[in-house]
């Protein structure tokens, strides 16, 4: 049986993520096993890896760093290897070279860029950007296949005040609009990240998770 490791580093709504993955996994012919784990060895053996994350960038990075050996295993499997990887919310933002939330914090640096505060042109727009918004797919991607986008498309659930500005436009895969363009999905090779929460995004989210579980980058 193949396995999907959801990384437990003290940050994130792990139960919600695991529930959504388990729901999708159960509907597949060869159901993968969903494992919530803080053990780098379990992550090393996993066929797919998901990194959740809610809260502040610096806290999440500190939390990840506090799990001995985890970042090393992630780099071995995802950067030097080809294990499919999904980062969600701050778990996606951590892919950046640096986070600029309150303090400057070094990220994993897997996708060049920085995480900066959203600055809506309309001052009446609330921060955080919290709730349901549609997305625009800039570059077709296996994880976004079968998801209707654009103003009449399905909605994704966002809750964030900062977003990922990629250095290379090729790494920006989907956006949303909130008084300006806001990053929704980033990726390269076997790495994919969503600013929104697939595990809270009903139909859109379950489809994205299904796509991830079948993804062969």
């Amino acid at each position: 049986m193949s396995t999907v490791a959801i990384i437990d580093y003290g940050a994130g709504n792990l139960r919600s993520a695991a529930n959504a993955f388990e729901r999708v996994a159960a509907s597949l012919v060869n159901s993968p096993e969903i494992i919530v784990t803080a053990d780098p060895e379990v992550v090393r053996r996993a066929d797919r890896i998901m990194l959740p994350g809610v809260g502040a960038f610096a806290d999440c990075k500190a939390g990840l760093d506090a799990v001995a050996g985890m970042t090393e295993v992630l780099e071995e499997r995802v950067i030097r290897g080809t294990t499919p990887f999904l980062g969600v919310c701050v778990g996606m933002q951590l892919l950046a070279g640096e986070g600029r939330e309150k303090v400057i914090t070094e990220g994993l640096g897997w996708i060049p860029g920085a995480v900066e505060k959203i600055k809506p042109t309309d001052p009446n727009l609330k921060i955080p950007h919290m709730g349901w918004n549609t997305i625009s797919v800039l570059k077709p991607h296996a994880l976004l296949a079968g998801i209707p986008d654009g103003p009449d498309g399905l909605h994704a659930y966002f809750v964030h005040s900062y977003h990922f500005l990629t250095e290379d436009p090729a790494h920006l895969l989907a956006t949303t609009d909130y008084g300006g363009t806001v990053t929704a999905c980033v990726g390269r090779d076997n790495i994919f990240g969503t600013q929104f929460h697939p595990e809270k995004s009903q139909a859109l989210g379950l489809k994205l998770i299904e796509n991830f579980l079948g993804w062969t980058p």
């Binding site: 709504n13 792990l14 139960r15 919600s16 529930n19 959504a20 729901r23 809610v54 809260g55 502040a56 806290d59 727009l125 609330k126 921060i127 955080p128 950007h129 919290m130 709730g131 349901w132 918004n133 549609t134 997305i135 625009s136 654009g150 103003p151 399905l154 909605h155 659930y157 966002f158 809750v159 964030h160 005040s161 949303t176 609009d177 909130y178 595990e199 809270k200 995004s201 009903q202 139909a203 859109l204 989210g205 379950l206």
Partner: protein
């Protein structure tokens, strides 16, 4: 593309059971909050709020089971309020599957609790419940005071704290969202206190959820257009089947408010 206005049904829960029951035709057990949650999820609710009003200490733990079972079936954001007093309370609710917690009395008693909670779990999951009433002593105090005062203990205990000032202070401490309930309007079906909602929404950067008093669909529209709320919360109009979530969404859409219609499509 626009961020959509959220409709949030609220279920009052005591000892793991829905208080007053939910009048949906298809429910086998109208008192089971999880079945009600699943029905609201299918109907296209944008979020769900459980308010735990369990009086006894012994019944308190039942909410964790309700949240855990809901999170297994509903893939939308869930907020839990009522009796959240410690960082440990929040951790247990989040681990059970809640996405946000609503804090009331503990925020009034110790504003720094909000700062500690936001530092620990992130602003996005800390909702502060602002339960406000028109002042009885409107003439007491200075010119800087608004017309509303904060109440705790389900609206029974006045605090003398100014509602608009309190709201701003909570956001400063790290609240990511405010649930503004008019205790004067709650249960009256006479509409939100729009002046109160607007006074707070216009003075803070974070989203405001309007609550208390919804009786008709126009009240929901007014909460957004006149109250400047980002989300509207209602209980009885949905529980008792007066209106369905899709009806409410369609009405708001027809009145120029951007709504998420995924479930209806």
């Amino acid at each position: 593309m626009t961020l959509k206005t959220r409709i949030i049904p609220c279920l009052d829960v005591a000892g793991g059971r829905v208080v007053k029951g939910v009048n949906f035709v298809d429910l086998i057990d109208a008192g089971d909050p999880v079945q009600a949650a699943i029905a609201y999820d299918a109907a296209g609710a944008d979020e769900l709020t459980f308010l735990d009003i369990t009086a006894s200490h012994e019944g308190r733990d039942t909410i964790f089971d309700v949240v855990a079972r809901t999170a297994e079936h509903c893939f939308m954001p869930v907020t839990v309020g009522g009796g959240v007093r410690t960082v440990e309370d929040i951790r247990k609710l989040l681990l059970a599957g809640a996405d946000k917690v609503a804090i009331n009395s503990a925020a009034v008693n110790d504003p720094d609790f909000i700062a500690r909670a936001a530092d620990k779990f992130g602003n996005q999951c800390i909702v502060v419940s602002v339960d406000a009433k028109q002042r009885l002593d409107a003439k007491v105090g200075g010119d800087n005071r608004s017309e509303w005062e904060i109440f705790t203990h389900g609206g029974r205990r006045p605090t003398g704290i100014d509602a608009v000032e309190f709201a701003a202070k909570m956001v400063e401490r790290g609240a990511g969202e405010l649930l503004v309930t008019s205790m004067d309007r709650d249960g009256t079906k006479s509409g939100f206190d729009l002046k109160l909602t607007r006074a707070i929404a216009d003075s803070v950067e974070v989203p405001v959820i309007a609550s208390g008093g919804v009786g008709k669909l126009q009240d929901l529209v007014d909460g957004v257009t006149e109250g400047h709320a980002s989300a509207v919360l209602a209980a009885s109009i949905f529980h008792f089947g007066t209106f369905t979530i899709p009806e409410a969404k369609r009405y708001m859409l027809e009145h120029g408010i951007a709504m998420r219609m995924d479930a209806a499509a």
